[in-house]
């Protein structure tokens, strides 16, 4: 069986996979990183989004072998080792941007990439358009949009702390 060597959340692993194994299968089944989810089989839902070399990628739409040598970050790798959450994770909690939590890992990973790629800041409309690849069936997106809007202020250093949802 072919092998793939990749670094996931800072840890390098070499794993045997079939040619057809998807990156998400490698993460969930070989590395037991089950925070990355599978919500569809047509690349529509974004529950599987991870970062590959700094870009958000639907890990159900990439073969494991294509990740040779890649740096992959999953939801498990976002918080600091001391447990401090990433501002986006913090904002999702503060703004009640998750209910069942199933879309959440993909949503958070997509949102971080979206914000990072728009240092000038995103309007509500731009956030909505930027989430085009992620489905959430629970929240109606209202609070997800608010959370991302709040998180970008912290991520771009315009605020030192997250604005409280009550503000």
């Amino acid at each position: 069986m072919p092998q793939v060597t990749l670094t996931v959340n800072g840890k390098t692993s070499t794993v045997e996979v079939e040619g057809r194994t998807l990156l998400v299968e490698l993460l969930r089944e070989k590395l037991r990183l089950t925070g990355t989810h599978v919500g569809c089989d047509t690349s529509q839902c974004g529950a599987c989004v991870v970062h590959v070399n700094g870009d958000s990628v639907k890990s159900c739409t990439m073969l494991a072998l294509q990740a040779e040598g890649a740096e992959v970050t999953t939801i498990e790798g976002l918080a600091k080792p001391d447990g401090t959450l990433h501002p986006m994770q913090e904002a999702f909690r503060e703004y009640h941007a998750l209910q069942c939590g199933f879309c959440t890992p993909g949503m958070v990973m997509s949102a971080i990439d979206l914000v990072q790629k728009h240092p000038q800041g995103l309007s509500e409309k731009e956030i909505r358009e930027g989430l085009e690849g992620n489905l959430c069936r629970c929240t109606g997106y209202h609070n997800i949009v608010k959370a991302i809007a709040a998180a970008q202020e912290v991520m771009h250093g315009r605020r030192s702390e997250l604005a409280s949802a009550a503000e």
Partner: protein, 794 residues
């Protein structure tokens, strides 16, 4: 010490306890669980809507790498039928048709996606590869995939023994009284509509793991369920004949349900049974395409209705005939959805004195149809609120005014409707007024004119809805055909040092029970939310439970906890009386402190619990040690949330696309425990309602192929399809449960579709449009705009 603890009790928007694990990827959904030595199941499903199985050849597949076993209907024919939990009776009193629902097809397949065989192999990929090598010899039969196709004379029979494909023919109300009201009417408005078929599409696909312990003979099923105890009962007692004591069902973190995960599905029984046969755990995970053809769908009604009015626009009577699609087999709750969860809601918020409703339930060659968020109540509300708008247009009475004229007045509660329900409380004028103001209804014409300047057609619409939830009084539903009780169970376990574990039979799959239920305990017992653990979803831990659906968790499950806390407090007072050498009657309790009335002598709950578990100085003659109490709470009535939703939409005539530009919801959900969570529930429900109104439609072709069978074909609302949703509440308390709560899980999906569609019709009124069917897709709207039917004088 003057540290200020933040208030965490009833009414506080406490941040959710469950979020940390979900946000850090540490949730434990069923597919995240792996059992040692586990094998994988793949289900071979029918590609045909209707066919006889002439033969199944598994020889090649069985010899493929990794294959452990292949089972077909021949292997499971001796097992029970997947049961239906509700029996409806026909007009003549005879019971509904209830054909066998096999785990694996027996001689015939009845819908695309019907289970034909299961392959169990060492890996998922091997199981799937082998399934492709199974040869099934199908004699394809003509299919009856729609209500119309199933009811034409000579239609193909979905079940050989069910004449005319009729599951039941039911009615409610007094026809003679109703006929008399229509005979006396000054005006009769009629209307025919289809409630579009929907696919629930919780983001987590279904999954199940069966496990069997060969030494103890115990089975364990991990499953994506909203009600593990009910699954244990249905599967253990009816399908596999496993006694409860030998069957544990665990529903861990579940990624959304919306009804679709209430039901007992064949795959649960298949993996459990196969685990016993093979002596190995067996895991099955649904792929999304399979979900489309195997999860129960929702809605799918065709309805004709008439409203009789007097000369002043007062409603005199309502007459409804509905055809309801049951799909190929009866799913767990299916028969009650278009009857007791639908026709009983047809009074809505109005004083209509007589209602007569007939419902014909029909088998078709489609996936079973069952409750989906709202279940029957959205169908009733849609029909009623569209009908009221049409009546307003045809009588020339203002849409809001005609509603006001017919509202059940505030002093009429308790209010008995002509369709069985008795509403306990409500204030429909208050929610209407609040919504009109929040949405600036009065200022709308200016916004319409402004939009017109930019070439856009703007419309506004409202719905004043009501629903019945907090399901349900056991004796009432039993008399109506339910085969289970619908109480709930709560245990409060106060530990020796005063922290609390709550065991609840309700199940959280997004609702935030771990937080809301902890707040109930914090509010009453004074224990900080952080020290209250809520346990749910495991039949080995929780005594019993009926699960979560019908917005019942708080109204029924929360009330059970409240009753259990009553018992804790009563016992605590006896212990406190002993410790403080006072009489029990003199002990007062408030938020964690027992006090001898009128003195400063107090004992904290933690001191009482310590005494209960270390009973050195304890009234041991009259009291057992320990501080743990369980209560079963059976509700006295349904609860009746209601309110007003207002949608403001804009149509781009170039494309036909409808955009919801403003949405306002003012809901009366009874007492609000956590406003943040309630708002989130309403927003999510509204999103699904807007999805139904504008985007979603499960469509079968004439051969019974599901055309909208993937997320590429079935349009789910995305972030840029939806507006910000303004949510407010106006509370009247439920009068019959101890918390005064009504329920908020379904109101969004119930109130919103007619508000949106009333707005769409309003936007198109100059085109002479009387009604548009859901979903109001761009193609449909564009067709109307370009049909050259513009009546407005230009």
């Amino acid at each position: 010490m003057n540290a200020v603890t933040p208030f965490e009790g009833i009414g506080a928007s406490v941040k959710r306890k469950e979020d940390l694990r979900f946000l850090s990827g540490r949730g434990q959904y069923t597919d995240d669980i792996n059992r040692p030595g586990q094998a994988y199941a793949y289900i071979l499903r029918s590609p045909h809507a209707h066919a006889r199985i002439a033969g199944i050849d598994t020889a090649t597949a069985a010899a493929m790498p990794g294959v452990l076993a292949i089972y077909t209907g021949a292997d499971t024919a001796g097992l029970g039928s997947i049961p239906c939990g509700w029996q409806i009776h026909n007009k003549d009193g005879s019971p509904m048709a209830e054909p066998r629902h096999p785990m694996l097809a027996e001689g015939k397949v009845r819908h695309v996606g019907d289970q034909v065989a299961v392959v169990i192999a060492e890996s998922r990929a091997q199981a799937k590869d082998a399934a492709e090598a199974i040869g099934v010899d199908y004699d394809v039969l003509p299919a009856a995939p729609t209500l119309d196709a199933a009811q034409v004379p000579g239609a193909p029979l979905v079940h050989d023994g069910v004449a005319g494909n009729i599951c039941y023919d039911w009615h409610i109300g007094d026809k003679a009284v109703n006929d008399a009201a229509f005979a006396a009417a000054a005006k009769i408005v009629t209307f025919e509509t289809t409630n579009n078929r929907l696919v629930p599409n919780a983001m987590e696909p279904r999954a199940a793991i069966g496990d069997y312990d060969t030494t103890t003979g115990e089975y364990t099923l991990f499953t994506t369920s909203q009600n593990p105890h009910v699954i244990r009962l249905l599967m253990g007692a009816f399908v596999l004949q496993i006694p409860e004591a030998k069957l544990r069902v665990v529903a861990p973190d579940v990624g959304g349900g919306f009804g679709s995960k209430i039901y007992h599905y064949a795959e649960e029984a298949i993996v459990t049974w196969a685990a016993g046969k093979l002596g190995r755990p067996v895991k099955w995970t649904c792929e999304r395409t399979e979900s489309f053809m195997s999860d129960a769908h929702g809605r799918d009604h065709i309805t004709k209705c008439s409203l009789a009015l007097d000369a002043n626009g007062k409603f005199l009577g309502l007459r409804v005939h509905t055809q309801a699609n049951m799909g190929a087999y009866l799913s767990t709750f299916a028969p009650c959805v278009p009857t007791y969860l639908y026709a009983t809601l047809l009074a809505g918020v109005y004083t209509t004195p007589t209602i007569y409703c007939e419902v014909t339930a029909v088998f078709t060659n489609t996936v079973p149809v069952d409750a989906y968020r709202g279940a029957g109540r959205p169908e009733a509300t849609y029909l009623l609120e569209r009908l009221v708008d049409i009546a307003a247009a045809e009588t020339g009475i203002d849409r809001v005014e005609i509603r006001r004229r017919n509202f059940i007045p505030n002093d009429a509660f308790p209010y008995q409707t002509p369709v069985a329900l008795q509403y306990d409380s409500g204030n429909y004028t208050a929610t209407l007024d609040a919504a009109l103001q929040a949405a600036d209804w009065a200022g709308f014409e200016a916004r319409r004119a402004e939009a017109a300047k930019h070439g856009k057609l703007r419309g506004i619409g409202c719905s004043t809805y009501l629903e019945a939830c907090g399901i349900a009084p056991s004796a009432v539903v039993g008399s109506l055909g339910a085969r289970a009780g619908l109480y709930e169970v709560g245990t409060i376990r106060v530990h020796p040092t005063g922290s609390v574990t709550v065991l609840t039979g309700a199940h959280s799959h997004g609702q935030g029970h771990e937080t809301t239920f902890a707040q109930l305990v914090a509010d009453r017992l004074g224990v900080p939310v952080a020290q209250v653990d809520v346990v749910h979803g495991d039949t080995a831990k929780v005594p019993f439970g009926m699960g979560t659906y019908g917005s019942r968790s708080l109204a029924v499950g929360g009330s059970a906890m409240f009753k259990a806390m009553d018992k804790i407090i009563a016992k605590g007072r006896k212990i406190a009386a002993h410790l403080m050498e006072a009489s029990v009657e003199d002990i007062e309790f408030d938020r964690g402190t027992f006090r001898v009335a009128g003195t400063d002598r107090t004992k904290a709950l933690a001191e009482i619990s310590l005494a209960a578990y270390v009973p050195h100085n304890y009234p041991i003659e009259e009291l057992e040690p320990g501080l743990e109490e369980t209560a079963f709470y059976d509700p006295k009535n349904f609860t009746y949330p209601g309110g007003c939703h207002i949608a403001e939409i804009e149509i781009d005539p170039e494309t036909g696309k409808v955009s919801v530009v403003n949405f306002t919801a003012v809901d009366d959900v009874g007492r609000v425990i956590n406003p943040m969570i309630v708002e989130g529930q309403v927003q999510g429900g509204v999103a699904q309602g807007i999805g139904q109104a504008l985007l979603e439609h499960a469509v079968y072709d004439a051969d019974g192929q599901l055309l909208s069978g993937s997320m590429m074909d079935y349009t789910m609302p995305r972030a840029d399809d939806l507006p910000l949703v303004g949510v407010a509440t106006h509370t009247t308390l439920c009068t019959h449960n101890p918390l005064g709560v009504k329920g908020c899980g379904e109101v969004g999906a119930i109130g919103s579709p007619p508000a949106v569609m009333n707005a769409v019709v309003d936007a198109l009124k100059s085109y002479g449009v009387r009604h548009i069917e859901m979903p109001a897709t761009p193609a449909k709207i564009w067709g109307i705009l370009h049909a050259g039917r513009k009546l407005a004088a230009e």
